[in-house]
Symmetry: D2
Subunit: 165 residues, 4 copies
């Protein structure tokens, strides 16, 4: 019944605020991630502040908050040096990966692998590494909270009852 596909691995060329990490490293946590571009208004004004709220409300060992910088336009203006300044100025200290580009393709690899339509795109990954929600845009806080609460409860149930899929 549940989507049993693992979230595709992220192809990241560089990490900020973290040593290199993989989604596999985050098994056992619920992952809240946003694909964003630093100069996309919906990302800067809504999606990233929402991620910061999530970061402040849940313990790190239960909920991982990570960003993926999926630059598909204004490539020169949104390079790693600019991203570093952006993260510094906004005091965002959760891990942010830079989605990797290959020559000649304006869209980065992970953005293609997830068939994203644009930014911001929310991804919710459960404690077993499965992509449970992918949403183009920003969800309201109650809906995001409810999804997150459901995945946390499911994680705790699995531990209590030893349920396996």
């Amino acid at each position: 019944m549940t989507n049993t596909h693992l979230a595709p691995p992220w192809q990241v060329s560089r990490w900020f605020n973290s040593a290199p990490l993989t989604l596999a490293d985050l098994r056992g946590q619920v992952v809240v991630a946003h694909a964003f571009q630093m100069l996309c208004p919906g990302c800067a004004m809504q999606a990233l502040p929402q991620m910061q709220r999530v970061r402040q409300l849940f313990p790190e060992q239960r909920v991982a908050v990570i960003g993926l910088h999926t630059v598909f336009e204004h490539h020169q203006a949104q390079g790693p040096l600019a991203l570093e300044a952006f993260l510094h100025e906004y005091r965002y200290n959760f891990p942010v990966g830079v989605d990797q580009h290959v020559d000649g393709d304006p869209l980065p690899l992970t953005m293609r692998a997830y068939a994203m339509q644009g930014t911001p795109t929310l991804m919710l990954i459960d404690a077993k590494g499965r992509l449970r929600e992918q949403h183009f845009g920003v969800l309201d806080d109650i809906t995001l909270g409810a999804m997150l609460g459901g995945l946390l409860r499911e994680m705790d149930e699995a531990e209590l009852h030893g349920v396996t899929d």
Copy 2:
């Protein structure tokens, strides 16, 4: 581990937007309730708009949203006629019960039974009728959503696996 106490029954002298109902009638749904007073600023400006958001985001058969008018001050100004005008003007159409008074006690019966400190007070009741959260004040939307999502998941788990307490 979980609080296994049933939520105390509500003592209601009159219902608005609903035929008389009891918490027992709501088994099988997660209940989001706020005890409020219509002239309490935190109730009118924050708690009730949040309940309205919950009402709009979840299906009625899964989440019940109800209000309890727990008048403990300004009794004359907050009588049933005033409450009816208030609910009409704000277009709140979820069920609202009037917490019952007995002679000589400024605090109504249900407010006493729950030992509430004031208004607004949030109550979350699970599908089995247990009081799982009681909070004086207003929770942020993400936290409320997460609690709600956890209780919904638990309700669904119980149905799937036949878990009983």
Copy 3:
């Protein structure tokens, strides 16, 4: 060019937060007033908080902030006792007059004299007592500020240059 009509006098049956006052008493100040009903959502959620902001931002000797309780519906629920509780709970301490009713007319006298369409209705009265703006609804803060700043400047000009109309 400017409207030279004096603002019609207010017919007030009772004052809260003030000894009885008249518009004539307020000559020499710019007057920001809202006609409101305590159970009108646009009044409680927007107009009155905006008046409170004005109160906090300008000195009392230059800007008078006053409310007019123009009850035209839910008369029983919005009587003086209810209004007193409302003003107390919301900590509004600017003067509020109760617009006077005459037998058999649901609309109070001042509301009729100003031909108001409903609540909230903003009134701006200049330092010479002229009604310079009447607006059904709530203006955004910048626009209200600009009108107010214009009337204040005009008041100061008149003092400096002795301009008379």
Copy 4:
């Protein structure tokens, strides 16, 4: 009584959304300007949206809204190409000048001339070209509106009465 100093000229290396302009070109209009950096959160989240509101509320022939990009940190990340992308993405179409740098000085020339403490910095310039307000940070909308309304009234008074300084 009034500050009679003309606002120092801006030293601009490049204009966006406009042919090159000078403050002298804007005589006869009230000028609302913000010195900003595109990666400064208070600028992007508060000051620039406020300027956009001003732009939408007042006619262009009476109120000029202009931005000054005063980069004093993260120079590489906030170059003209990045600024162009930023203005495009946020749909800001009022004129924005790039404050000019000279070799070896991280602070640009206009920022130095105005002795600004940081970004955002609001500047209000009257119709005669005098700097009437300089404020580090963002003013609330009512206060900004009142200053603007005062300067507009003063401009109109000068035209009506032929007052000269």
